[in-house]
Structure formats: C-alpha cells, structure tokens
C-alpha cells in the first residue's frame, strides 16, 4: 500500500517539505508523537543526504520519497540520482573526539538515522542511491487505515 510518493528539487532546506508530506501521509497510522518525531528526523536526514551528497544540491535533480505500508512495516524509500559509490557511510561519531578537534564537528546524519528507525537498508546502483527506512508498527496503536481511502500521491508528484 503506497501512502504517498513524491519528489522534491535538490535544494538544501527541501528536506523539511518532505518531512511535512510524510507526516501528512502517516497521520492515519496514529504513531505516538515520539515515534513520529523519530521517523521524521530519519526522513529529513535521508532526504538532506540525497539532496546534498547524492544530487550535489542540483535543483534540477529530484530527490524521491515513497512511503509504503507492508504488513506491520512502514517503509520510507528515499532515492537520488547520484552516481558512484555509497553516499551513506557508517560511522560512530565521538563527541569528545570532536571537542578535541580530532574529528569534524559534523557527521551526525547517518548516526541519527540508524538510531531513529528499526532498520536501515542502503542500495547503490547505476541509477542512483536508495535508502530505505523501516519502522515496525507492532508496538503502535494502529487506527485501521483503509487502503482505498488513503492511497494518495503519484510517482512523479514533483514539488
């Protein structure tokens, strides 16, 4: 079941547009405030990564977002048009190393994503990079979303 699918131009700041659209799409699921905040932080970071690193902040290149519900799993797929190697690299930032000047102050994005969702999947191919954020809904009150009534959006619903 697709809850929404859209793209945003690759301009920094547009991750917030994506967060608003995803928040609207998952509203019927009745996620707790904390769980929704976690999901939206992960979405924002993934889209920002797609915009800044995958698409090099080129506005003409879309960053895609698709939200689907599969059983008890809510999946948000974020895509970019970037070529080459992975733009998502695992790291464990160390605050104290940063304060000591041994690491750059930045580099928190992936760390945040990994701790906000239940599962993170990354795929890179010749078409670009895809990041899947998975949230399992077992522990959340499910308000009985109706597929026919809530399937919205289209693949090329560009902002």
């Amino acid at each position: 079941l697709t809850l929404t699918a859209f793209t945003v131009p690759s301009l920094p700041g547009n991750e917030r547009l994506a967060m608003v659209r995803v928040a609207e799409a998952v509203e019927p699921l009745g996620l707790s405030t904390l769980r929704q905040d976690q999901l939206l932080t992960a979405v924002g970071e993934a889209v920002l990564n797609a915009i800044e690193h995958g698409n090099d902040a080129r506005a003409e290149l879309p960053a895609g977002v698709k939200v689907t519900l599969s059983g008890c799993a809510l999946v948000v797929r974020v895509t970019d048009q970037g070529k080459g190697g992975a733009v998502i690299r695992h790291s464990t930032p160390d605050l104290y190393a940063k304060l000591a000047g041994e690491e750059t102050p930045r580099g928190w994005g992936l760390f945040l994503i990994e701790h906000m969702v239940d599962e993170l999947r990354v795929n890179n191919d010749e078409c670009g990079h895809t990041v899947e954020l998975v949230l399992y809904l077992q522990t959340e009150p499910h308000r009985g979303i109706q597929p026919q009534a809530t399937a919205v959006g289209g693949e090329n619903d560009t902002e």
Binding site: G13, G44, L95, T104, L112
Partner: protein, 111 residues
C-alpha cells in the same frame, strides 16, 4: 535569535525556528553578543525551536568548542522529549547541561 543578559553572569539566546546550517551565522553572532559582557554561562533556549538536524548538531558542537576555549559553560532548556533524547544519544547532554526551564538554568548558572 534574541540575546538577553539574564543575570550579570548568564546570557540567554532565544533560538526561534531551526538549528541547521542555515542558522550558523545567526547563532555564532548571537553567541558573540551573549558573551560581549563577559557572561560565564550562555543558556540556549530551545522553547521555540521546531527543527534541529545533523548540521545543527554539528553547529552546537562548534559552539561548544568555542565555549570551552573561552572557559564558558553552555546550558540549555526548552528541548522537546525527542530532542532531549537526541542530546542523550549524541552525548551532547554531557557537555551542555539540560534543564526544564530558564529558572532552573539560571539557578545553576549562579552556583
């Protein structure tokens, strides 16, 4: 952002909107203003902050480095539960003391 000299030793920066790369110049300027009267403690008020992203966390780390070099303390209050957890996750809460409200922060700043 608004900077207030709350007590002789503590200044408050009211952060409205977002803490992201877009806020860098404004936050750094606010910090300079906050410390212009030699406040030993700078208190960040997040009550009206609706978005903090990874770049914003990097910005707070940069601010911490600056404060540490100047032997000043950074405090914070007004964080939502979500951002409090992010402070814990990143361990920012170990370097920036987090309080429930301004009164608590000012009381700690005075001690």
């Amino acid at each position: 952002m608004i900077t207030r000299q709350a007590t002789p030793g503590a200044a408050v920066i009211d952060i409205e909107g977002e803490v992201s790369s877009f806020a860098e110049d404004e936050l750094m300027t606010a910090y300079t203003e906050a410390t212009s009267e030699d406040a030993r403690t700078v208190i960040l008020n997040f009550t009206k902050t609706d978005y903090i992203n990874s770049s914003g966390i990097g910005l707070l780390v940069t601010l911490l480095i600056r404060a540490n070099r100047q032997e000043r303390r950074l405090f914070a209050y007004g964080l939502t539960e979500h951002y409090r957890r992010i402070f814990e996750l990143t361990r920012l809460n170990e370097a920036i003391r987090v309080f429930d409200d301004e009164l608590d922060a000012l009381a700690a700043a005075a001690s």
